[in-house]
């Protein structure tokens, strides 16, 4: 008994040191990014930015801007698990805004939050603002404020490549449909009365779709196209968006100064072409050309 336990401990220790010793540098899947891909724009940091908001004052004092984002959405909000590098359209938007608020990309501290954690995190100040497929709607405006929209998506369905029975929201009646807890997608799909499966992330849903547990995953097409491009040949997007989702930057309710500053930053980068460049370098890889820039809604 005693010897077997000691042996187990020794084996564990050996296994741990062995894995630590033979680590590879670099990141998994890094080779996949082609060299002729469009280059990401760089943003000039406005060092003299004056934003009279308590949140920014606090961020300046700590020398870090804490931005909430998603981590598992290809080409939108993505964190490379090996290097910790973030990439995607939402990430670029966050960087543009941060630059205009006077923060370099190195000064951004990313905080991964799943959909259902967004409102409390913004409301309680865990993050300074949130950029991650965050649809603007009236119910959310009760707890948080939005700057934007900076992109317009539509809710769609992701199915297996060989699925011909699901052609749009009308055909999901009684089917198993997966979506994320706390997302707008749940409420939108509910009226078509499918059986709903909920997880905290969309990647869990996609896993369930791949293993055949659910028939479809529903959320915004921008997110789904990212997964479809990752699993080309296995999954496809139905391609009939049935809602309009305005993506905004979520921030503390009634901080008008910060909201205007973020709106100004979005406007400036949309006008100088950074928005388009960022899109081409990120979301375009999911397979659709850049749409028109949506008009800002300053309320």
């Amino acid at each position: 008994m005693r010897t077997s336990r000691t042996l187990a401990v020794v084996l564990c220790a050996v296994a741990l040191t062995a894995t630590a010793a033979c680590g590879k540098d670099g990141t998994p899947g890094a080779a996949a990014s082609a060299s002729d891909a469009p280059k990401l724009p760089t943003y000039t940091v406005k060092t003299d930015a004056k934003v009279d908001s308590p949140i920014i004052a606090e961020a300046r004092k700590r020398g870090q801007l804490i931005i909430g984002a998603k981590a598992d959405q290809p080409n939108l909000g993505w964190e490379d698990v090996a290097s910790g590098d973030r990439s995607g359209f939402d990430i670029e938007i966050a960087k543009m805004v941060a630059a205009d608020l006077g923060f370099t990309p190195q000064q951004i501290k990313w905080q991964t939050l799943v959909s259902s954690q967004r409102e409390p995190a913004i409301d309680k100040g865990q993050i300074d603002f949130y950029v991650g497929t965050y649809s603007i709607n009236d119910e959310r405006k009760k707890t948080v404020s939005f700057a934007g929209p900076y992109y317009i998506a539509g809710q769609d369905l992701l199915v297996k490549q060989d699925n011909t029975s699901i052609t749009g929201p009308e055909s999901v009646n009684g089917k198993n449909v997966c979506t994320a807890t706390g997302s707008t997608s749940i409420k939108n799909i509910q009226q078509y009365s499918p059986k709903i499966t909920q997880f905290d992330t969309y990647s869990a849903c996609v896993e369930k779709l791949l293993s055949g547990e659910v028939d479809a995953v529903t959320t915004d097409d921008a997110i789904l196209k990212g997964y479809a491009s990752k699993y080309a040949g296995k999954l496809k997007v139905v391609g009939k968006p049935f809602t309009k989702e305005n993506y905004g930057v979520g921030l503390k309710k009634d901080d008008a100064v910060l909201r205007n500053a973020i709106s100004d930053a979005l406007k400036a980068h949309e006008d100088n072409g950074d928005w388009k460049k960022a899109y081409d370098a990120t979301l375009a890889a999911s397979g659709s050309a850049a749409p028109d820039v949506p008009a800002l809604d300053r309320y």
Binding site: S116, E119, K142, G182, F199, D200, A204, S211, G212, E213
Partner: protein, 216 residues
């Protein structure tokens, strides 16, 4: 506090409550059956079965329940096992609790003095008679107290199922906080529901204890 009686909130809360009870009851059943089987393995004269029982208990007792939920919900479908999420939750929770039930039963059997069984056998009792008339009645009394804490813990642990697509009380709590109600009010009602469940289980076990109690 009053938010519970607005809109369809009460229906959601009630469904969550019933779902919690359903998951807990099914898991309790599975845990009891599987736990008894594992305990039988662990006290059996066959070394392979003993090793299997020990392995199961070591594995399941020392793994976080959340990780077990992950393993079951995402590990079984690739193996060709497809169930509803309720069943997955019952499998994870039942398998986890079974390892505790097994240990309780095993230690209960071990507390019965060896002389009792020997006396029974020397009176000519068969294995079945020894087990049902001498060993188990004595083991049951010592087992009851630890067993009650295992089964009071079970409905509490079932909250984790809420994070794995089972619409029980925890997911009702999540939905309410998304709807923007005060966290304290939500917490109050959810706490009441769980207190009710655990009080019921505790009363049940106290009743059993009083039924089985003997003057010593």
């Amino acid at each position: 506090m009053g938010f519970l009686f607005e809109d369809d909130n009460f229906a959601l809360f009630r469904d969550g409550f019933l779902q919690t009870i359903e998951v807990s009851a099914l898991s309790a059943l599975l845990a009891l059956l599987l736990g008894t089987l594992l305990a039988a393995f662990r006290v059996s004269p066959v070394p392979v079965l003993r090793a299997f029982g020990t392995g199961w208990v070591t594995l399941f007792r020392n793994t976080p329940l959340t990780l077990l939920f992950f393993a079951v919900t995402f590990g079984l479908p690739p193996l060709g096992v497809h169930f509803s999420h309720l069943v997955f939750a019952v499998l994870a929770l039942g398998g986890y609790t079974a390892s505790f039930v097994c240990e309780v039963i095993r230690s209960g059997i071990n507390t019965v003095p060896l002389g009792q069984a020997e006396a029974a056998r020397s009176l000519g009792m068969t294995f079945g008679q020894t087990l049902t008339m001498v060993v188990l009645p004595q083991a049951a009394r010592t087992v009851l107290a630890p067993m009650s804490s295992v089964f009071i813990a079970l409905p509490r642990n079932s909250a984790i199922a809420g994070a794995f697509s089972v619409g029980e009380l925890y997911s009702a709590q999540q939905t309410f906080s998304e709807r923007g109600y005060s966290i304290f009010a939500i917490f109050f009602w959810v706490a009441c529901a769980y207190l009710l469940i655990s009080a019921t289980v505790a009363t049940f076990f106290r009743f059993l204890e009083s039924r089985l109690a003997v003057a010593r």
